[in-house]
């Protein structure tokens, strides 16, 4: 194919070189500085200006050159043989020129009827984080990003509220046409645009995959005539943004003695271990990128190589990622263009258990990291009241340093992503596009558990032979190896027709078909015991010990899913001011039963550019006023599968010693189970005022998911005890979004901007059919306590609601914690009734979030600040709620608790009991954080130098936060599940503050 393309290319282009002359020139802006990236068209030939504004184009003298660039007014001039100088005037109404990606096409922003947030490339790379979605936090209204600074973690992105309880919550990412669910493999430096489709009329073109929103990412292409090389490098250090002050040894001893009503612990401790310090280090991270790009008339090319390395704040946790990308565009003929993109990502990581953070929080400071003889410290106390190897155990917390040191795991992954896109102009107004994209992922991992030595470290009073005696058949160690891979692909073919009739009727039609296949994910996991402790010998050739030492072997192939789709879109513009968009998508999904697999997803949008009306002509203060609105229907097909399986396992002897296999079916599947349907109506207003210095948008929406899938309890007489998913719930999301930005240029040397956005969303489970739900119990603390519930009683509450007891203060007479029961009486926790006394007390999902941004450019300096905040979320202090005996406490508690001498303390008396989940541990998750401060300086470099541009910068990420939460971080993504550990600080990675210095060079 490629040979064919090249020869074809050569044939097509040869005549053009033969016949033309070369016209050279320079494009300047009004200040006389060269303008890079301007587009020059001469008949059928086109070119771009380079970084200094120079261009050359094959055209005959006298041909009309049309020069255009976003943000400037287009000019047309006849070509001259002498070098030309063309000055572009900045256009006032930039919105008229901006283009947005709308899925299977682009649209001028002014002509678009839907709600789309476009994030520019520089905004994505400004905050030095790994995943682009983390970088856009606070930069788009209506988009909630809950991220974690754990290297390699995936942030949760919630667009206009969550509409599903059991289904997939991730938005659909479309990376250069590849539909995927994760963008951890994308180097942010390669991204040229990041667009978030927010309302149903924009999303419906993606049908059953659109209910959680769609993010379209476009990566860079080559431009400019000469080869340009760009190098971007930074290095930074990271530390926890906030620490929790724990009690020191003597305060710990005092508190614990009171709790135990004994004098177990000496109050003059020789050791005072700060466990958090012991398990953390100053994190470092670096990123280096180099890209080479350029273009000729027939080819645009872009290569980039990037490397990211992080030594995380948690001891031993390392992460690295190397990316390579090549995007080429071949102009095969006047009518035929081929785009090829390819990316390779290799990731490697040495993970460490995050429970080390919880153990560091809980472990007593009297325990040394190592005893004097070099053995790991353990929580045993001797008769002298000091930690000792042989004393009695006083808590069941391990040594977090030992935990990290013994944890030995490595993971590696490779992701290949790429595709081909062919555009063919059949006739001038009709274009055919064919696109194929694929994604291959492979992953491997090992985990080595040094079982015996871990036991010996936890029992310093025991020797090696004790292990064999106490556990005669136990393994010495356990090696787990895993491998996983999948291949997903999708292919689309569509036609785009665009024509203007009678000068005022602008019609664009798109129609196509598509298929997406999520190939079967294959996973192999093998666990072997008693392997050689030297990792070189883990895979000896022909080692027949394997057979006897394999403790588990799993070879899994997960179900493949396929999607077949038809889609169409009709866009109509009347007199440049009345806009209409209608879309329809018909999707068939292999996830569902034959009669329930096809669905239609219609949508429409209307727009009215009010400023183009006659009566607005005199209103000079308003530069743009556009009203838009729409309605659409979306689906979420990533819901619990309705595949029914045989149940094996009910085996039985039938009178002898032969165990007979038994099989039955113990599930009930509703054959009509299908996607969740979300309908949304929305209205928005875009405006630009005061010479377009003030720009903004206001949006309101009403989104309703009417057939949410929840697990129901089958009729008791069906004999089916497992929960049966059914379309029984209803979830509503209503909200509004505002964004405003003021840009101004005071002098040629000084310009500044101030911007912000605010989004509010009301999420509520509004209805439930007449069924009995099988409850979803979540937010478990690992000590028998759970914090969240979704069942029949949850109607009227937001998703992710905490369901716990209400703390009623402590009894002043004895310092015991009291709780309200259903009757409103204060009782102790033993008198509580789990069925009646718990209450819904708010959700882990914020109600509002907001972003602020300001900055200025002065001469060669640039400075910007971004802030982000949320309100209305609750967080549960899970690590604190785990203490029941002998664990450490926070200093604020150790110095102020109830005793007979301190009846008015702010904390209850010490106790030794697992505390029930209650509002005592529930705190406000509201926070405001400065996400990023950047100061950059562009070195004054002569334009004829080898280096054409050099900018150095310093960057502070998350330098400040104001939070009400007493723990490490109120931003707790956890497992990303509102019914999982989201919003619960337990085994959570802290938010980090990072300082970065970097440089960007262009050649």
């Amino acid at each position: 194919m490629r040979n064919f393309i090249f020869s074809f290319l050569a044939l097509i282009l040869l005549p053009a070189y033969m016949s033309g002359q070369v016209i050279k020139g320079k494009v300047l802006d009004q200040t006389g500085i060269g303008v890079p990236g301007a587009f020059i068209v001469a008949g059928n030939v086109s070119a771009d200006t380079d970084f200094d504004g120079n261009f050359s184009i094959a055209a005959k003298e006298g041909t009309i050159l049309k020069i255009s660039l976003v943000g400037f007014e287009s000019v047309s001039v006849p070509a001259t043989l002498t070098p030309m100088t063309i000055t572009l005037k900045e256009s006032k109404d930039t919105a008229l020129k901006e283009v947005v990606v709308i899925g299977y096409g682009t649209r001028k922003k002014i002509d678009n009827t839907t709600a789309i947030s476009s994030i520019k490339a520089e905004e994505i790379t400004k905050t030095k984080v790994l995943n682009a979605s983390q970088a856009i936090q606070g930069k788009a209204s209506g988009v909630q990003v809950i991220s974690s600074d754990l290297p390699g973690s995936t942030p949760s992105v919630i667009i206009r509220g969550l509409g599903t309880a059991l289904g997939g919550r991730t938005p659909l990412y479309v990376v250069d046409g590849m539909q995927t669910e994760n963008i951890n493999n994308i180097n942010s430096n390669d991204i040229t645009s990041y667009e978030i489709l927010k309302d149903a009329s924009a999303l419906a073109i993606y049908g059953t995959r659109a209910a959680n929103g769609v993010i379209i990412i476009t990566t860079k292409k080559g431009k400019g005539e000469k080869i340009s090389v760009e190098i971007e490098s930074f290095a930074g250090m990271r530390e926890p943004l906030k620490k929790v002050k724990m009690a020191g040894s003597n305060k710990y001893s005092h508190y614990s003695n009171v709790a135990l009503q004994s004098t177990t612990f000496s109050q003059d401790q020789p050791v005072n271990t700060d466990w958090f310090d012991e398990i953390t280090r100053t994190g470092t991270y670096t990123q280096n990128n180099i890209s080479i790009s350029g273009a000729s008339e027939s080819i645009k090319y872009f290569f980039s190589l990037g490397n990211y390395e992080e030594k995380a704040v948690l001891n031993g946790l390392d992460y690295g990622r190397t990316t390579f990308r090549n995007n080429n565009e071949y102009k095969i003929s006047k009518k035929l263009t081929l785009n090829q993109n390819f990316s390779f990502t290799s990731g490697k990581s040495a993970p460490k258990p995050l429970s080390a953070f919880t153990n560091a929080y809980k472990q007593s400071p009297i325990v040394p990291v190592y005893f004097p003889d070099g053995k790991y410290g353990v929580s045993r106390v001797g008769n002298d009241g000091f930690a000792s190897e042989t004393g009695s155990s006083f808590n069941n917390v391990g040594n977090p340093v030992a935990q990290l040191n013994f944890f030995d795991e490595q993971q590696r992954s490779v992701t290949l992503q790429g595709g081909l896109k062919l555009d063919y102009e059949i006739i001038k107004s009709l274009k055919f596009t064919s696109q194929f994209n694929g994604e291959f992922y492979t992953w491997k991992q090992y985990n080595y558990d040094d079982t015996k030595n871990i036991w010996l470290a936890a029992n310093p009073n025991k020797v090696s032979s004790d292990y064999e005696n106490e556990f005669p058949n136990a393994n010495i160690n356990l090696l787990t190896k895993g491998r996983e891979q999948y291949f997903n692909w999708n292919m689309s073919n569509y036609l785009t027709y665009n024509e203007v009739f009678g000068e005022i009727h602008d019609v664009e039609l798109t129609a196509g078909i598509e298929t997406s296949v999520k190939g079967p994910r294959e996973k192999l996991t093998i666990a072997r015991k008693n392997v050689n402790s030297n990792s070189n010998y883990w895979s000896l050739k022909g080692d027949n010990d394997y057979e006897t030492n394999i403790t588990s072997y799993q070879d899994e192939v997960f179900n493949e899913t396929k999607l077949a789709s038809y889609f169409g879109r009709f866009q109509y513009k009347l007199m440049d001011k009345y806009l209409f968009t209608g879309t329809i998508r018909r999707d068939g999904s292999s996830n569902f039963g034959k009669d329930y697999r096809w669905g239609n997803f219609p949508a429409f949008g209307l727009g009215w550019v009010i400023t183009k009306e006659k009566f607005m002509e005199d209103v000079k203060v308003i530069n743009l006023l556009k009203l838009r609105g729409g309605w659409g229907r979306l689906g979420n097909q990533n819901v619990p599968l309705n595949n029914q399986s045989y149940t094996s396992g009910p085996n039985s002897y039938l009178g002898g010693s032969i165990l007979n296999l038994g099989t039955t079916i113990s599930s009930q599947i509703d054959p009509s189970l299908s996607w969740e349907i979300t309908e949304e109506s929305s209205v928005g207003l875009d405006f630009e005022l005061l010479d377009s210095r003030l720009k903004g948008a206001f949006d309101v929406y009403d989104k309703n998911t009417s057939n949410v899938i929840l697990n129901t309890k089958p009729y008791l007489t069906s004999g089916i005890t497992s929960a049966s998913p059914a379309h029984v719930g209803e979830v509503s999301n209503k909200g509004f979004e505002v964004s405003l930005r003021w840009d101004d240029k005071i002098t040629d040397d000084f310009s500044y901007w101030v911007g912000g956005n605010f989004s509010n969303n009301k999420n509520e489970i509004t209805g439930l059919k007449d069924v009995i739900l099988s409850p979803v119990i979540g937010g478990g603390l690992g000590n028998g306590q759970d914090t969240k519930l979704l069942d029949n009683t949850t109607v009227g509450q937001p998703l992710g609601s905490f369901y716990i007891y209400q703390y009623a203060g402590f009894d002043a007479t004895n310092g015991k914690m009291m709780y309200y029961n259903a009757a409103g009486e204060k009782v102790t926790q033993d008198a509580l009734n789990a069925n009646t006394d718990k209450k819904y007390v708010g959700s882990s999902l914020p109600k509002s979030n907001y972003g602020l941004s300001l900055g200025f450019n002065y001469k060669n300096f640039d400075f910007s600040v971004d802030g982000y905040g949320t309100s209305g979320a609750k967080v549960y202090n899970g690590k604190k709620a785990q203490r029941f005996s002998g664990e450490n406490i926070e200093e604020s508690l150790a110095t102020d608790f109830w005793t007979t001498n301190n009846l008015t303390a702010s904390n209850p008396a010490p106790f030794n009991q697992v505390p029930v989940a209650s509002t005592y541990y529930l705190e406000s998750g509201d926070f405001f954080r400065i996400n990023n401060i950047t100061l950059g300086y562009k070195l004054p470099i002569q334009s004829n130098n080898l280096i054409s541009s050099c900018r150095i910068y310093v960057n502070a990420i998350n330098p400040f936060i104001t939070q009400k939460f007493s723990g490490f971080s109120p931003e707790l993504n956890g497992d990303g599940n509102p019914y999982g550990t989201q919003g619960v600080e337990l085994d959570a990675y802290p938010t980090l503050r990072s300082f970065v210095i970097g440089a960007n060079l262009k050649f």
């Binding site: 064919s434 899994e556 068939g588 034959k594 029914q644 399986s645 039938l654 038994g662 007489t717």
Partner: protein, 484 residues
């Protein structure tokens, strides 16, 4: 070029329109789809669906703690046992007959039996489709499934009265199936359904002797007759009791009563239908059955529930060997030499749940003999007596008494013999999950419980409450039992 692309486009449109639906038929790979019946289309495959039903009887909810509570602790034969403070969830209120509508044991037993019925219905649904399996085997398996379904409906009708009859696999969303699952039938309708299943089973099942050593716990023709006799007994269909008892051939009572409840007595000549358990690894026994009833405290091996009552001790006539075979007394030495020390918490424990080889294991080798030939004799005696043939009933009763080391009965009138048979049933079948239902069946409950110092409310305590969740699901189609 242009033509090629247009052709491709048009072609692919056809492709989608024409076979998109087949294109979307993706076979499951992560588990075996229930659409794939072919995998089980052979003798062994067909048998698996019935094995799963037998497996249900080993389940905790089906046969263990809750069921012990309902069928035994409630009766005058047993007290709750265990430590005074350990309620065993609800065993205290079961013992005191003060349970309410949300009784966990009543709920779990209801759910477990319907779970078993689902397994029967799954087997009855799929086995006829497995045409590559031996037709004779399939017919027998269907017979077994029907017997087992009848057995479970009998448990349900005894416990709860009329219940919904789920006679086929319901289709979710189908309205008539919804009504079927949610509407209680009358007891008479349930009995008719049970009899129909048993008659089908009788036609399909072989005699017990036809089974190999490894299949002795399968349902047999004799078991179906015996259950039909018992079902008739509950309906006071005396002639039918006699007719069915007469068809039970090839069984005899064993000479040593105590031997029946030990490992050596499995499938003896008296056993008609028993739940078979194996304690040797991989163990498949009745979950927690021995453990929950084992002696509690220092020197004990279990939780100590279902303790034989003083009332039961008093019911044995002097010289009755069954007392020592049924009750473990604190401080005694068991048949295997184990000494039950005086440090255990309760005076008496259930000997019939004791496993010598796997004493404190969760799954032991203790079987439950649900149908014994001794009961057949007693049922026949009762029916004969009710039909006025008292003199024919007396020798049957004496057979049972003599085996227990007791002399012939001295009674002779119909009324006295009736009472004598009822008394004999109690001591013969103590701790075999029959007493409570027998008291209700014979109308002795109120007086019997009064002796025990408990109030049996006539019109209420005959039946257990239907689970509240079910009443809620039924949304008016079914009502709770009276008094709850």
């Amino acid at each position: 070029m242009k033509k090629i692309y247009i052709a491709t486009f048009v072609f692919s449109t056809f492709f989608f329109a024409g076979c998109a639906d087949d294109y979307l038929d993706v076979d499951q790979t992560e588990s075996i789809s229930t659409k794939d019946t072919e995998l089980y289309n052979n003798d062994a495959g067909a048998a698996q669906f019935v094995t799963a039903i037998y497996n249900k009887f080993l389940n905790w909810d089906m046969t263990s703690f809750g069921w012990i509570g309902l069928s035994s602790i409630t009766s005058d034969d047993a007290d709750k046992g265990s430590s005074p403070g350990d309620t065993g969830t609800d065993k205290d209120v079961l013992d005191a007959l003060t349970y309410n509508a949300s009784n966990p044991s009543a709920e779990s037993t209801f759910i477990a039996n319907y779970d078993g019925i689902n397994r029967c219905n799954q087997a009855l649904n799929i086995i006829p489709k497995l045409d590559k399996a031996d037709p004779n085997l399939r017919a027998r398996l269907i017979g077994e499934a029907k017997f087992l379904r009848a057995f479970m409906y009998f448990t349900l009708v005894k416990c709860y009265g009329g219940v919904p009859i789920v006679d086929h696999l319901p289709v979710p969303g189908n309205d008539s199936d919804r009504i079927m699952q949610l509407t209680r039938k009358t007891s008479a309708e349930v009995y008719t359904f049970i009899e129909a299943d048993l008659n089908d089973a009788i036609a399909a099942l072989p005699e017990k002797t036809a089974y190999s050593v490894n299949e002795r716990s399968r349902a047999s023709k004799g078991a179906a007759y015996a259950l039909l006799a018992k079902v008739s007994l509950y309906q006071k269909n005396w002639q039918k009791v006699i007719d069915n008892c007469n068809k039970i051939t090839g069984y005899s009572i064993v000479s040593d009563y105590a031997s029946m409840f030990r490992a050596a007595g499995k499938f003896d000549s008296e056993s008609i239908f028993e739940i078979y358990a194996q304690g040797a690894a991989p163990a498949k026994g009745i979950e927690g059955y021995s453990n929950t009833q084992g002696a509690r405290g220092t020197g004990g091996w279990g939780w100590g529930f279902n303790s034989p009552s003083q009332s039961l001790v008093n019911a044995y006539e002097p010289g009755d060997v069954r007392k020592a075979a049924t009750i473990i007394f604190r401080g005694s030495t068991l048949y295997d030499g184990r000494v039950v020390p005086n440090t255990v918490e309760n005076e008496r424990y259930n000997y019939k749940a004791y496993s010598s080889a796997y004493t404190d294991a969760w799954e032991t080798d203790v079987d439950i003999k649900y149908l014994r030939y001794a009961e057949v004799l007693l049922m026949k005696a009762e029916a004969l007596n009710e039909l006025g043939q008292t003199s024919n009933a007396i020798p049957l009763l004496n057979q049972i008494r003599n085996r227990a080391g007791l002399a012939n009965t001295t009674f002779s009138s119909q009324v006295d013999i009736r009472n004598a048979i009822w008394r004999e049933r109690r001591v013969e079948m103590a701790f075999e999950h029959d007493r409570f239902f027998d008291l209700v069946r014979t109308g002795q409950a109120k007086t019997a419980f009064a002796v025990d110092g408990k109030v049996f409310t006539v019109g209420k305590n005959e039946l257990f409450p239907i689970p509240a969740t079910f009443i809620k699901q039924a949304g008016g189609l079914s009502q709770q039992n009276p008094g709850y």
